[in-house]
Symmetry: C2
Subunit: 366 residues, 2 copies
DNA sequence: TTGAAAGCGATACCAG
DNA sequence: CTGGTATCGCTTTCAA
């Protein structure tokens, strides 16, 4: 549907902000060039004119039109974040809030804005294409990649700067990413438990189509194998990272003929669900059952009992957002730098309120 | 700091998307005008050319440059949301996530994008000014207004379309808003408790500099007065909407010489804190102490016990976002319509897991 | 039904 | 240090 005719006319009438560069320079009896240079801090303008221009700009309340700047410079000074609101992962998506907040602050500090696109389900690739092809944004951030994420090759072919928070194990071409060592973190957590004598350690994981969850699982398996323990599928659950899911998973695990004596949870929310299921059974955490939780994730109930954990998680996610933002901006401004691929080691959050106590696991056969 | 010289050159070299309108029309042996018209659905192009153009556009993977469109039309097709990350209200801000999600979906459906600005503390007015004056956005949404919110007069003077989620009681000029009847909701909640015979009803409220909290308080006071009960400042607490705050407030209230027999909580998170404090004291909710909670707010722990409440709150916030977005878009596209000022009645969420049971309040003197 | 040309409001090159 | 002018890519008017 084409817009009504004369729309522009109406608009300009309604807008009424007629103080533009041309008008300002006319009043100053200077060329647009000089005024522009003065305002943008170019060295070649004399201090006196610069001051004159600055004063006039303030007086006439002039501020440059971003739309025109954007066209003239070819840069939109905006970064795209795309968030898919799929029905199934409704809750998980809230993870993005802190990430976005951390990134957004960085953008602001550098004169960038953030273009946020909420798309239903899997219109994601189209959204990325639209944003970058049409020049709406100068770069994009990709969150929570799947193992083989189509977005990455899509962005590579679009030739737009981007940074992935996480990695996609099955994408071979190089790209910029930032990731926590998921595998090692879960390996450490699992080993911690096997070292304590646990022989049936359960994993309550996120969806394993997502890369980070797959890596966590491989860390879990590696630890078990090193400890000479079998990798038992009945001890592994995966699903959305929500408290009810953790609860359901733990209940099912506790109902097994040979229930686990310890749990590794792949996020704080999952761990909370596990905790609830365990306590519901009258088992004492840290005594009858152990629970270790790793999370580069976040949850939103500032329940005082777990408050330190939540706070730590939240600020960690925010920090990750800030880091990705910084990296992306530097890629945009210095495209020839080597591709950043940053892997860092995680802090392990042990237990919820307390660390797992050493114990003889129930039903263990030493 | 001025950009390095030749920046544009480097950019255009790096961009490599040389399929623009001019090029496309050259290949089609048509004028830019015709091609543009064909693509934008103007009626005057013949069906045959329209098809030819559409095919070529698809074939050459053409998509119009949003930056140029924006400059030519004077509309950026983008809505601004500004979120202030003050240090004190760190947690409260997460409320915005669902609101933003709800709004974002609507924008997408109408070809708009969302420009999200995260600003530290109180750089807010400047941010609004920058966004609108420079033409970065076509309209903005204001959330969580204070009683006398400077943003509103600022936006009025900028003459940019905006919609406020909530109202500012002390702003006299008319503007578009969407609000829930906070006063009546809390009045109803309080009356519910006094009708049950409670004579010491506490209010655990949000920060009362915010308009909605002030209104809720007035509803609380009105209900007490109608019931012939004194308005006792010692029974009223206000602060950030976080669980720890609710907990602290409830503890302090329970420590009073004359503790309340019932609580009205102004959000689910506050109510959860109250609940924890109550249970910690060995009191039974719904028997020893009653708790009623109203919330147009949201919280993020999907704890199964309260799950329906949380789910309801979340979708309500998302719906509010969508409603504000719809209103704003219609204001932008039809500026001459009467100002929408929509007040709706809230559903009351009673109790957390169970409704308050009728009881003889502890220590009551009938 | 089509096309030529004038904006939109800035930036940046090349002269002076 | 300052100014004229082409340019960015599209929309829209006006003429054919």
């Amino acid at each position: 549907m084409p817009p009504p005719r004369h729309a522009a006319l109406i608009l300009h009438w309604g807008q009424g902000n007629d103080m533009n560069l041309k008008e300002l320079s006319r009043r100053l009896q200077l060329s647009q060039t000089t005024v522009s240079r003065a305002l943008n801090g170019y060295p070649e303008v004399s201090d006196s004119t610069r001051k004159r221009v600055a004063d006039a700009a303030a007086k006439f309340n002039y501020s440059p039109n971003a739309r025109a700047q954007t066209l003239a410079t070819g840069k939109s000074k905006s970064i795209g974040h795309i968030i898919a609101m799929s029905n199934q992962t409704e809750l998980t998506n809230m993870v993005f809030a802190d990430f976005v907040a951390g990134a957004g602050l960085i953008y602001g500090e550098h004169g960038y804005t953030m273009t946020l696109k909420i798309v239903p389900d899997r219109e994601e690739p189209a959204a990325y294409r639209a944003l970058s092809e049409r020049g709406t944004v100068d770069g994009v951030i990709v969150q929570a990649p799947a193992c083989n994420d189509p977005r990455i090759s899509c962005l590579l072919s679009l030739d737009i700067p981007f940074v992935v928070h996480g990695r996609a194990s099955d994408v071979s071409a190089p790209y910029a990413w930032l990731d926590v060592n998921n595998k090692r973190a879960i390996d450490t957590a699992t080993t911690h438990l096997t070292d304590l004598g646990h022989r049936r350690v359960a994993l309550v994981n996120g969806r394993e189509t997502l890369d980070f969850a797959a890596r966590r699982r491989s860390g879990y398996e590696a630890a078990l194998q090193r400890a000479g323990l079998p990798v038992d599928p009945r001890l592994m659950r995966s699903g959305d990272m929500s408290e009810p899911n953790g609860y359901d998973a733990a209940r099912a695990l506790l109902d097994e003929k040979q229930p686990p004596s310890a749990f590794v949870a792949s996020s704080v929310v999952l761990a909370l669900g596990v905790k609830r299921a365990v306590e519901e059974r009258g088992l004492r955490l840290g005594q009858d059952v152990s629970l270790v939780c790793f999370d580069d994730d976040i949850s939103y109930l500032p329940n005082a009992g777990e408050k330190p954990v939540f706070t730590a998680m939240r600020s960690s996610v925010r920090a990750a957002g800030a880091r990705c933002a910084t990296l992306l901006l530097s890629r945009i401004n210095a495209p020839d730098q080597p591709l950043p691929q940053e892997l860092w080691e995680a802090e392990l959050v042990q237990g919820l309120s307390s660390g797992p106590a050493p114990e003889i696991p129930a039903g263990a056969t030493p």
